[in-house]
């Protein structure tokens, strides 16, 4: 939470970044992407430093805000490095070219004769720095365009000569330590929860007790600063403990009409397959006949020719369950403008959503870090809460933090899913045709997505409520939602794949890290093991026999070798996928022991993310994603009765604890010439499948519904 520097010179403001060179040599870079704890600003700083020919220490990444820097939408979908990296590189190269040209002009040489490395421009014995060039630019009628000059000033005077990207990367490819970690380890104010604005009030919102509840009565509380608009109810106080006490009294004073609106938690397959759906054709039936695998005489070698296998898999609703409840601050100024501080994944989409609800365009949203969110949690919702409460605060800023219970019960969930998969096989058990159907709620209700509605929670509770449609899915071209990774990585001769999106639901769902990929890879890779076992084949060999993609084969064989596959290690299972079909390749071997609970001993992972920007950053993302996925797979399930979400604390919504965390080893399979892709969502699906497959190896029975708890194992044993 530092003051923003005043830039001496602004030489670049392209679509990828706003880049300013200060007279002190500090190069400020503002991108549209935000730090979510994933280390993206460190990786982007490395890219910027190399493209500038600057030292990493002089690059300063500024937090995203709507009033400055590019609109890059959401920081989501593992797209930051793939999308923002090249745009940032181009913008920084333009700045570097402008400065190179300036140095060349001073020296009377051509830009191509000037080199720059670690912030020093050189021609023969003569050197200058970004700081020197920026200082020179501050003098009138000389040098670079100053702030306020046309944004493309740097570009206009930037010939290509001297603008070549760094010949040898200095920082890209190196495990640079995270820039944000020292402050966090020292316990400094870093998070939005730590924000202290002058004159700040503290706000709390009393959420309804259940999704279908409406406020019917409120005992007056004249000594409290209560804010009410329809069923939206909040309170303002001078201090945080005072706000909590006021909230407790407000809870006592409110009367609600509640209704049973929720489905049967124990039969989500039926719930997801009932009622109206949108049909999403992912792969329409192909006419290709599986001839190549047939014996030449056209007759099967054994009686299994044409045999059909089928299975049904499921996952429950899963909570984002950030370790910090969502938080925001807002201030209405006397001129009618609104300022918002938020840990949103997209400052611009949030600004537009707030504008829709509040009826003003004069809104600035600034990003301040929160705890990890892992997708669309309540970060955007609490920003509206703060704006609504601040409207009654007489110009004072209001800081709002949700409770743990609200975070676990009112933030959107990752949708439950149900999958039918069927395959016909040839005489050798090889897949001839594949049919896959997935039923799910949509996987995004981010601001502006579903039908263009703002999507923010409190707006649905106002006197003049917004009504929101069910969550939608990103298009197939944008990575899809429920159909993400529904297309197998294998060379099946015929495939039919269909999504069925639930159109009416009382349960709010939105993007949870990897969206449908977690479930689809779990289902596909579990089923591949079932087919391999039915064919009497080793699961690794069986996969390789269906897999021609060389990079997929490489991660699979590397992970298997590292885990000692086929060497008599007990309790192993594997899973592999390429995220979104176009992102990172990831193969996982899990080692599982079934004791009192299902225990994952070790996850051995091979991953290929193309060119690696920060090797330790990739490892950290893969380790973390895998550990979180182990938690989803083994433990997590949103609980509810027909009226209320009941999993509102860490006892009723348990997550993986330290004694349960598996050892995770990561092998990076490097392909330096290939484009960089994200690492944050590569491991989730393969981890779930690997654990389930390992459990089958260990216990000899197959669990097809997540989570793989002790109770689920006991129930499966009783069914056998």
């Amino acid at each position: 939470m530092e003051a923003e520097p005043r830039a001496a010179v602004s030489v670049g403001a392209g679509p990828g970044a706003a880049v300013s060179v200060g007279a002190d040599g500090v190069i400020s870079v503002r991108v549209g992407k935000v730090e979510l704890g994933q280390g993206v600003l460190t990786a982007l700083a490395q890219i910027a430093a190399d493209a500038l020919g600057a030292d990493l220490g002089q690059v300063r990444m500024l937090p995203a805000r709507t009033g400055a820097g590019p609109d890059e939408g959401f920081t989501s979908g593992s797209m930051s490095i793939a999308r923002s990296g090249p745009a940032l590189r181009a913008e920084c190269a333009r700045v570097r070219a402008a400065c190179t040209a300036e140095a060349a002009r001073h020296w009377g040489v051509s830009p191509g004769q000037v080199t720059v490395r670690r912030g020093e421009f050189r021609h023969g014995d003569r050197t200058t720095t970004y700081a020197d060039l920026a200082q020179a630019a501050e003098a009138p009628a000389e040098g670079l365009p100053t702030e306020g000059a046309p944004a493309n000033g740097g570009r206009a005077r930037a010939p290509d000569a001297g603008a070549r990207a760094s010949e040898v990367p200095v920082f890209v490819g190196v495990s640079v330590p995270r820039l944000d970690l020292p402050g966090k380890v020292a316990g400094r104010p870093r998070f939005i929860h730590d924000l202290r604005l002058p004159g700040q009030l503290y706000g709390r919102v009393l959420r309804p007790p259940s999704p279908g509840a409406r406020l019917t009565g409120l005992t007056p509380l004249p000594d409290l600063r209560v804010v009410r608009d329809g069923s939206f109810l909040g309170v303002l106080a001078e201090t945080e403990p005072e706000a909590d006490r006021a909230l407790a009294r407000l809870r006592e004073a409110a009367e609600w009409d509640e209704r049973d609106t929720l489905p049967d938690e124990h039969d989500l397959h039926t719930f997801l397959r009932t009622g109206p759906h949108e049909t999403i054709p992912v792969r329409t039936p192909t006419n290709a006949q599986p001839t190549s695998d047939r014996p030449k005489d056209g007759r099967p070698e054994s009686g299994r020719e044409g045999e059909v296998h089928a299975a049904t898999y499921g996952r429950p609703f899963i909570a984002h369950a950030s370790i910090a409840p969502s938080c925001a601050a807002a201030r209405w100024n006397t001129d009618g403008s609104l300022e918002v501080w938020s840990h949103t994944q997209g400052v611009h989409p949030l600004r537009r959503a707030l504008a829709q609800i509040l009826g003003t365009e004069r809104i600035e949203v600034r990003h301040v870090e929160g705890a990890g969110c892992y997708g669309h949690n309540a970060a955007d919702d609490v920003a509206l809460d703060a704006a609504l409460l601040a409207r009654e605060a007489g110009g004072r800023p209001v800081h709002v933090r949700w409770s743990r219970r609200d975070e676990l019960t009112w933030a959107p969930f990752g949708s439950a899913m149900s999958v039918d998969v069927a395959a016909s096989v040839d005489a050798k058990g090889m897949v001839r045709s594949w049919r896959y159907d997935v039923w799910s709620q949509g996987h995004t209700s981010r601001p502006g997505y579903a039908g263009g509605v703002p999507g923010l929670l409190a707006a649905a509770h106002l006197e003049q409520p917004w009504t929101y449609p069910a969550a939608v899915d990103p298009s197939l071209g944008s990575g899809s939602g429920m159909a993400r990774n529904a297309v197998p990585i294998y060379d099946f001769p015929a495939m039919e794949i269909t999504g069925h999106r639930v159109l009416e639901t009382p349960i709010r769902s939105s993007a949870l890290r990897s969206l449908g990929a977690f479930m689809n890879v779990f289902a596909i890779e579990s089923f591949m093991d079932e087919l391999a076992l039915a064919a009497g084949r080793d699961p690794l060999a069986y996969r390789l026999a269906h897999l021609s993609d060389p990079r997929a084969r490489e991660v699979l064989t590397r992970a298997a070798r590292a885990a000692g596959w086929g060497g008599g290690e007990p309790g192993l299972g594997l899973g592999v996928a390429r995220y979104k079909g176009s992102g990172a390749y990831c193969a996982v071997v899990a080692q599982v022991a079934a004791e009192h609970d299902v225990r994952v001993r070790r996850l051995t992972i091979a991953v290929d993310v193309g060119q690696v920007v920060n090797p330790d950053g990739v490892r950290n993302q893969i380790e973390g994603g895998a550990t979180q996925a182990a938690s989803w797979t083994l433990k997590e399930r949103v609980r509810f009765d027909r009226r209320r979400i009941t999993s509102g604390d860490w006892e009723s919504y348990p997550i993986l604890r330290f004694p349960e965390a598996p050892e995770v080893t990561v092998e990076l399979v490097e392909h330096p010439g290939t484009p960089s892709v994200g690492a944050g969502e590569a491991a989730q699906g393969p981890v779930a499948a690997a654990i389930a497959n390992a459990l089958t190896t260990t216990l000899g029975l197959r669990l097809r519904d997540l989570p793989l708890t002790r109770d689920a194992v006991v129930a499966a044993i009783q069914r056998e």
Partner: protein, 149 residues
């Protein structure tokens, strides 16, 4: 007025005796390194040392802390120095969002004060009450074990 000893200094605070210690630390005293996570003592984000014992500050009233030594993450090492655990967390890059780290480092510091050479089992057991959502568990364990070498 309540007299508290926080990170070695005696301070006077105005809050009601029933106020959660966490609110006093983060509010009146401005020591925001201790984080709010659940308000029920079940996630570890708000852990502090109270007379050397790991304690959830969110459900400990101020009155209980009176007359006892409170140590927060800011007081693990004097001034700008870092406690060996903090140093090791940085060396191992054992963090992602970092929100849980304050409480984890408090648990680890208490363990090391009690047993300078814990084995892995002891480290993991000492962290059982700390939740981490980003999944840096094994990095944290490696970091703490590193301080014992």
């Amino acid at each position: 007025m309540t007299l508290l000893t926080v990170n070695g200094a005696v301070v006077e605070v105005r809050a009601e005796p029933g106020t959660p210690l966490l609110d006093v630390l983060r509010g009146e005293l401005g020591l925001v390194g201790t984080r709010f996570g659940c308000g029920a003592g079940s996630c570890g984000a708000c852990f502090v040392l109270l007379n050397g014992r790991v304690t959830a500050a969110c459900d400990t009233p101020l009155s209980v802390a009176e007359g006892r030594e409170v140590v927060t993450v800011e007081g693990l090492a004097p001034g700008d120095e870092l406690h060996p655990v903090q140093q090791a967390i940085l060396e191992e890059q054992a963090g992602q969002c970092g929100y849980c780290l304050s409480g984890i480092m408090i648990s680890a510091a208490a363990l090391l004060a009690d047993d300078p050479r814990p084995d892995e089992e002891a480290v993991v057991a000492a962290l059982e009450r700390n939740l981490c959502r980003c999944g840096v568990h094994r990095r944290v364990v490696r970091a703490i074990l590193k301080t014992t070498q």
